[in-house]
Symmetry: C2
Subunit: 309 residues, 2 copies
Amino acid sequence: MDTLRLAIVGYGKIARDQHHPAIANDPRHRLTAVASRNASVPEVANFESLEALLEQGPEIDAVSLCTPAGVRTQQARLAMAHGKHVMLEKPPGATLAEIETLREDAERHGVTLFASWHSRHAHGVAGAKRWLAERQVRRVDIEWKEDVRVWHPGQAWIWQPGGMGVFDPGINALSIATAILPRPFHLVDAQLQVPGNCQTPIAASLDFVDGENVPIHAEFDFRQQGTPPIWEIHVETDAGRMTLEAGGRRLLIDGKLQQEGPDAEYAGLYARFAELIAEGRSDVDVSPFRHVADSLMLGYRHTVEDFIE
Amino acid sequence: MDTLRLAIVGYGKIARDQHHPAIANDPRHRLTAVASRNASVPEVANFESLEALLEQGPEIDAVSLCTPAGVRTQQARLAMAHGKHVMLEKPPGATLAEIETLREDAERHGVTLFASWHSRHAHGVAGAKRWLAERQVRRVDIEWKEDVRVWHPGQAWIWQPGGMGVFDPGINALSIATAILPRPFHLVDAQLQVPGNCQTPIAASLDFVDGENVPIHAEFDFRQQGTPPIWEIHVETDAGRMTLEAGGRRLLIDGKLQQEGPDAEYAGLYARFAELIAEGRSDVDVSPFRHVADSLMLGYRHTVEDFIE
């Protein structure tokens, strides 16, 4: 397969820290252009917008959209209408409905659409899925707790509608759980803690069940202070207890370390994107985002003290 | 085709007022049994629960679930596991995720699953869809306003999470709009008015666009007082203005009445259910419910005065 000529659209922190290095280290991709209002990147063609890139730019095969979810859908539609393959940062849209439109567009234009979930490419996730496939799951506990002031400094958008609050990191846990557990699950109860001056929850306590009534409990909390973040999934089975720690980078069985790897989630994403393009397929799994929508629709909102950063 | 032996599960107001008469007037169905904790119906076999009906009851082909959304999914799964076709009142579940599980169950068990939207069977809806199919839509305005004290007396559940507030009637408008408009649409802005003592909105102002950027505006309001309800959809096209009034019962073009019919939505539902079973197909369109989830996820919540019934 020829090298894919790739453009990044939206060159903010996540593009600089994660996408660009992952692309640079992957021989299947070559960063050819960047479209960004605020940044300019050496050694590639720079444009102020995706429109300008598509009109004046060098030939490209694919775009990776690292812009906010609110504008991504329109950009994705434009890129696909020009025959470009598209990779979306998570979540794949601001609404569930628009993702259906994107899915139809990808089919119509015959291009690959990849709704990426970076946490699914954490080092221990594939091993966890394999181990669970041969066991009976009895119960699942998810803990996803971090200090919002440390991990999201100045991100006022996170407290606005669509910013998802604690679900912004929590959706990473849901993206892993939906990937490793043997059966789909659905929400039965959600308790949301919403600061009086915010639109989105600072903490959430969620109860799901799967099709065999296995309970799946999740605690998301942004109010962790003074201690390291906890990004863990514990699964009790008929043959031992499996734990994913460090956001999926470490896999333990009955407390014993089985696998541990460096943070290479975005390398995994770009490898997968190249595979999907080579196979002429799309991968658009909305299930993590659907669980967020269900939680915000069905959740009981408790007002808690104002959040002052 | 043989007459379908049908059971109603959950014999409350909607079953008594709408489902039972519609079934009684349709020769393709015969009401054979009822499962209800609180009601007993003459001339059919009565059971306290779906479980008891399936264990001890007469042979049935299909069940119509008129129970609250929170318990319906479990009942639907049980009925399908026993090989029964299932019709669901709207909305088809308490969460979007559980509907995916139901969809998979229906396929696995080879039965028909029908997620019903009664407003789609209002008299003018089919004609509206046909008329719009040949025009260019320019803009859509939806007004769905009623006095909650008149139309939902004593329904405290409507103000609880999952009760959907003004989206309980509003989803009827969305079920018509998703049926008659030529393209899917998605939410771009939602403003929600939530009483200080309630969990769900008493009013909502919604802005959608479709794939061609046609604006679709919706006003849902429970605070209509002293005047008849307004259940209207107005569509401006390149060749005139179409209006659906009275919840879809009346169709007007440029203000002139084209079609008007009696309230026969549930007759339409049961006719459709019989057709789907005869064709061995399911019909599970979640799009109206997905718009509600998107609205509650993305909506800006304004606190308004307490609601006292």
